[in-house]
Amino acid sequence: MVVDTKGRRSFRGGVHPPESKHLTRDSQIQPGPDVKEVAVMLSQHTGAVCQPLVRKGNAVMAGQKIGDSDAFVSAPVHSPIDGKVKEVGLRSHAVLGRSQAVIIEAYPHSRPKRMSFNLPDDFNENNYSSEQICDAVRQAGIVGMGGAGFPTRVKIEPNPRLPKHTMIINGCECEPYVTCDYRIMLEWTDQIIAGIRLAQRACGCSHVFIAIEDNKPEAIETMNSALSALNNGHNIKVVPVKTKYPQGGERQLIKAILDKQVPTGGIPPAIGLVVLNIATSAAIAEAIIDRSPLTYRVVTVTGEAIAKPGNYYVPVGTPVQDLIDFCGGVTKKSAKVIIGGPMMGIAIADLTTPITKTTGSITVLTKEQIGKAKYERRQTPCIRCGRCIQACPENLNPTKIAHAVKNNLLDVAERYYISACIECGCCSYVCPANIELTGYIKTGKIFLARQKKKMPA
């Protein structure tokens, strides 16, 4: 079967926020701060929460599994450092609120993990079987590192009912400010390609497309030259896509590259596709070739309120405070601390919140960057200008849904397909009345889930 790119390399709708990537674009990945204490959340992924495998007072080693679950859709967590378990207790989680975590105090001799490893010359993905790779990915606790944190093993495991033919590697990084994936593409190129080959081997995809937004020509070039060094037969291709937010949303990416639409409520495997993030593919290579679990990740610490922005390789569980202090501390100008980028990231008030496997960046914005209107959050009535409708990449009617939620008309919200919203934030971004459309829609989704008793009140 011939599968080639057919899309117009973009999708309908979307917005063009200022990229602001210049702050960290050219800063190499560096080791992060020496941590004294990490809080490893037991739920860092979509799916079942892990049960702790250690107790207070236990000594743990770097890479030791400290939480796991029997559920299929789940991923274990590991200790990133040598240390002693201080407690298993509640910590602030960016998404889930207060949530279980294993708090580990570092031993003084604990050494940070080396940043990358050399690929063996005789590396060949065919030395590993699909089961071996899937199993290793599961044991290493790898989840989608782009944000949603879906367990990678579930994604790449072959499913006889839904055979996968094409894999898309998501290197778009459409979120403003964030540059971690970009730096990984430039610096860990071979490791990424090894990870891609392993993932391709595991899921049996005949075609692989690496999607990179066309505002990152260096990354496109680096990946292309590394691929041309490979002997052919891998069918891995770099596809430049249009720079537009949310180009890195998997549904938007699939539309852009293959001109296919994932059915509403469905996931990419339904049409034979796998979408993996760049950082995830690097983690796969590390897990299989280096046999080390996912305990560190690259985090971009950025924003105009950060004195020394940069890309850092830090242990999962590092408190946000440590990272910000390492980069010059919170300045007087800081108005908002965001885990993630400014479009989809989550603003936090508790700076002890640890980073997780899915945290790609910490953005600290000033009042000027947020804008007066957003800072004061003064909303004016909807003037029905329709900008949100034109910006919506999922072709929804955000103002209708948001106002239905506001007036507690959840049935109306459902009739306007509230569940199809990907929460990209384009509608709130363009709204001249400054209405928190995305916020209302998220609230509505929670109300609906509670109504259906899927979520505790």
Binding site: R12, V15, P17, P176, R251, K255, Q261, V262, P263, T264, G265, G266, V330, K332, S334, K336, V337, P342, M343, M344, G345, I346, A347, I348, A349, L351, L365, Q369, I370, G371, K374, Y375, R377, T380, P381, C382, I383, R384, G386, R387, I389, Q390, E394, N395, N397, Y416, Y417, S419, A420, E423, G425, S428, Y429, V430, C431, P432, A433, N434, T438, G439
Partner: protein
């Protein structure tokens, strides 16, 4: 140190847009026809425009006071309503009538529904409809532009009454049909005049070129979408062409229909009022086609020489239905469940 940190839902940045900036754009665009109105109809035109703007603003302020609501004047929407209402009034209208029209526009047209964003009908058109129904004579007395008649009225009442009146081109074409004298010969010479604006008519509707510049400004600034103006003008043009082809003696040239009357003002500034127009693009097309077609129906078949006001109000009334008809389907299709 932490007390200045705020928390809110994503996204944390936004486009530098506000309702006020959108309205300011409309005001800038309206400056072109306003300036032309001042040029053609001189001082009284500017008095009328100032009166309308001022009384709209005061009315909104009073309504907010009575309803005990936050002052909403800073969104500039009352100013826009005032200018549009003024531009749709005949130049000889007395000031007191303009004040009544403005009060009705804001109080009955907008504030009783709950203010900006909640009104069903275009406020300026509500005010104008009220004036048309109440003071039919005043609303159909057209003075010729000052560039034709140098003895244009100044502000005092006697002069207004003494002013030379002139039928609007559309009213003329209407009588032409009835007298069977052939509208075509008249309209050819008038086409140029209607584009420049040297004809009788409402303050802002005479100069097609000024309206076009203002409309293009709004399109370039993306304050309005091209869908509604395109639909209004195209459908009106098609309708007029059909009538012209059927009987070119009784009906005037379609281009003349486009450039005269309130069609340009309506297409770019009145029908595009976002609050009272449909949300989706498909809806906008339907809405615009409705406005254009009903306008031409009234002009060609109906009693009135001009029908834009009624067609906009009629289509405003069906906007919720259009919105319901043109519901958006998610990009991934309807969910199968």
């Amino acid at each position: 140190m932490l007390k200045d940190i705020t928390v809110s839902s994503a996204p944390h940045i936004s486009q530098r847009l506000s309702t006020r900036s959108v309205m300011a754009d409309v005001i800038i665009a309206l400056a072109f026809p306003t300036a032309v109105a001042g040029y053609f109809f001189r001082f009284h035109a500017l008095i009328l425009i100032a009166t309308c703007v001022l009384s709209c603003v005061v009315t909104e302020w009073l309504c907010n006071l009575i309803r005990k609501k936050q002052n909403s004047l800073d969104d500039f929407s009352a100013v826009v309503t005032g200018i549009i209402l003024a531009l749709s009034l005949p130049p000889s209208l007395p000031v007191w009538a303009a004040i009544i029209g403005s009060v009705v526009s804001i109080a009955i047209g907008k504030m009783v529904f709950g203010g900006l964003g909640a009104n069903i009908f275009n406020p300026a058109m509500v005010g104008r409809a009220f004036l048309t129904a109440s003071f039919g004579m005043l609303m159909t007395t057209w003075t010729a532009p000052a560039t034709i008649d140098s003895k244009m009225p100044r502000i005092n009442q006697e002069n207004v009454i003494d002013a030379r009146t002139q039928a609007t081109p559309l009213a003329w074409s209407k009588t032409a049909i009835k007298n069977d004298t052939g509208a075509d010969s008249y309209s050819r010479g008038q086409l140029e005049a209607t584009i420049k604006g040297e004809v009788g008519g409402c303050l802002g509707e005479t100069s097609a070129i000024a309206l076009l510049i203002g409309g293009l400004y709004l399109l370039v600034r993306r304050t309005i979408n091209f869908h509604i103006p395109a639909a209004v003008l195209l459908s009106a043009f098609v309708f007029a062409t059909i009538a012209y082809l059927i009987d070119s003696n009784a009906y005037v040239n379609p281009l003349f229909h486009l450039s005269s009357g309130a069609l340009f003002l309506g297409a770019f500034f009145i029908a595009t009022d976002p609050v009272t127009a449909p949300l989706t693009r498909r809806g906008m097309w339907l809405f615009g086609i409705g406005v254009g077609t009903i306008t031409m129906l009234i002009r060609i078949v109906g009693e009135y020489p001009e029908g834009l006001m009624f067609s906009v109000l009629l289509m405003n009334a069906v906007t919720p239905l259009i919105d319901r008809l043109c519901k958006r389907v998610p990009a991934g299709g309807k969910p199968s469940a």
